[in-house]
Symmetry: C2
């Protein structure tokens, strides 16, 4: 368990959530590489908590298919499953197409301002090469769309289904992806939402979410041990 590090800033929330988020971060960030063995005992010792909250965190993570728990045998960080990535992308595409249409209709000045601010930040981050921050802002952009339409739970569900995809994105991040396209697409979507052009917005969103299809196979070749 070389990978597990203790996050000292544990301010609020239950121990269970602390363990859950700690592990999830490590897995998504690929600090805990796919295929790594991991056990309740190890984690509880490293994080200095009892096994019960660890168990419960494991349970949650296995539901997201980030951990594979094999009774009486062991637990491993799951390999990235491209079919799962595709399912996640499929859901995102079809849901967000509909959400962005709704956003065109219901977004008021305040919400549009939130979007605009986000896009501005993204442009700033490109100049400064803050890729990890861009990663967050990307999520934030889409979250605003869902939350503005009163569909935050839908967003949370999508996030869960996209855990495997997030790891892929992390690989791309390392591989120095070209963020200019992504940000310009965000800007485009924002403009269409502001102009309330439903069809254009939908189309822009669709092509934005099709982008992720690229490079899958290439990444698989480059990091074969990470994939199924």
């Amino acid at each position: 368990m070389k990978g597990i590090t203790i996050i000292n800033t544990r301010i609020n929330g239950s121990t269970r959530d602390f363990v859950y988020y700690t592990l999830r971060n490590q897995i998504i960030n690929l600090k805990l590489e796919p295929g790594t063995k991991i056990s309740e005992k190890e984690v509880s010792e490293k994080l200095k908590v009892s096994r019960t909250p660890v168990r419960e965190a494991f349970l949650k993570l296995s539901q997201e298919e980030l951990l594979g728990v094999y009774p009486q045998s062991g637990t491993i960080v799951t390999l990235i499953d491209l079919s799962l990535v595709e399912e996640g992308r499929f859901i995102r595409e079809n849901i967000e197409k509909a959400v962005v249409r709704e956003a065109c209709q219901v977004f008021d000045k305040n919400l549009l301002f939130q979007l605009e601010t986000n896009v501005r930040f993204q442009e700033l981050c490109i100049e400064k090469d803050s890729h990890h921050k861009l990663f967050e802002l990307d999520d934030e952009f889409h979250r605003i769309l869902f939350e503005g339409c009163g569909k935050i739970r839908t967003w949370n569900m999508i996030r869960q289904m996209n855990s495997h995809f997030d790891r892929l994105r992390m690989l791309r991040l390392v591989a120095n992806q070209d963020w200019n396209i992504v940000v310009s697409q965000h800007k485009e979507i924002y403009n269409y939402v502001a102009k309330k052009s439903l069809d254009h917005a939908e189309q822009a969103m669709t092509s934005h979410l099709k982008l992720v299809n690229l490079e899958k196979e290439e990444l698989k070749k480059r990091y074969p041990g990470f994939f199924e």
Copy 2:
């Protein structure tokens, strides 16, 4: 805890899953009414298992928002949240629209036969007034579509998001819903898939899933204590 009954036929699976499915069934079937107080201790005693697996089942159910867990205070069966029902319906509509299109393209003889068999069974059940069986067959019909497209995990996720909606369906079941429409719509969808008419299939599916919008408000008036 009058509602909890013990299912004797506990054949396989872990204790945790046994508790989870037992409780989930009771909640969906409204044997455990929305708003009911419930505690780990009570369940563990009634089901004659320890508190640990009960806790883990609670955790899972609270993620589905079927239980509300309040630390150091108590746990209650959540009230039916119509906004959550709408979110679930929204997801279903937009995903299944796309899935049924894909089904038109990829379904082979074997899968089409499965669908046909299912629809036949439904017609049989109408004659015999087996409403609960119809309830299951309805789910089965949609599941076949997802599984045939290699998107079983998407279906599972949708099932989770539709827990609240399922309770609404159960209320309608009691209120003696007219199943003829539903079954004929299923038949229509099947026909379009068999004929590979993508657009017609999508349209049929859309109107099928819009059906659930009816009666919401009426049911809320009739069972006010069950709703938020």
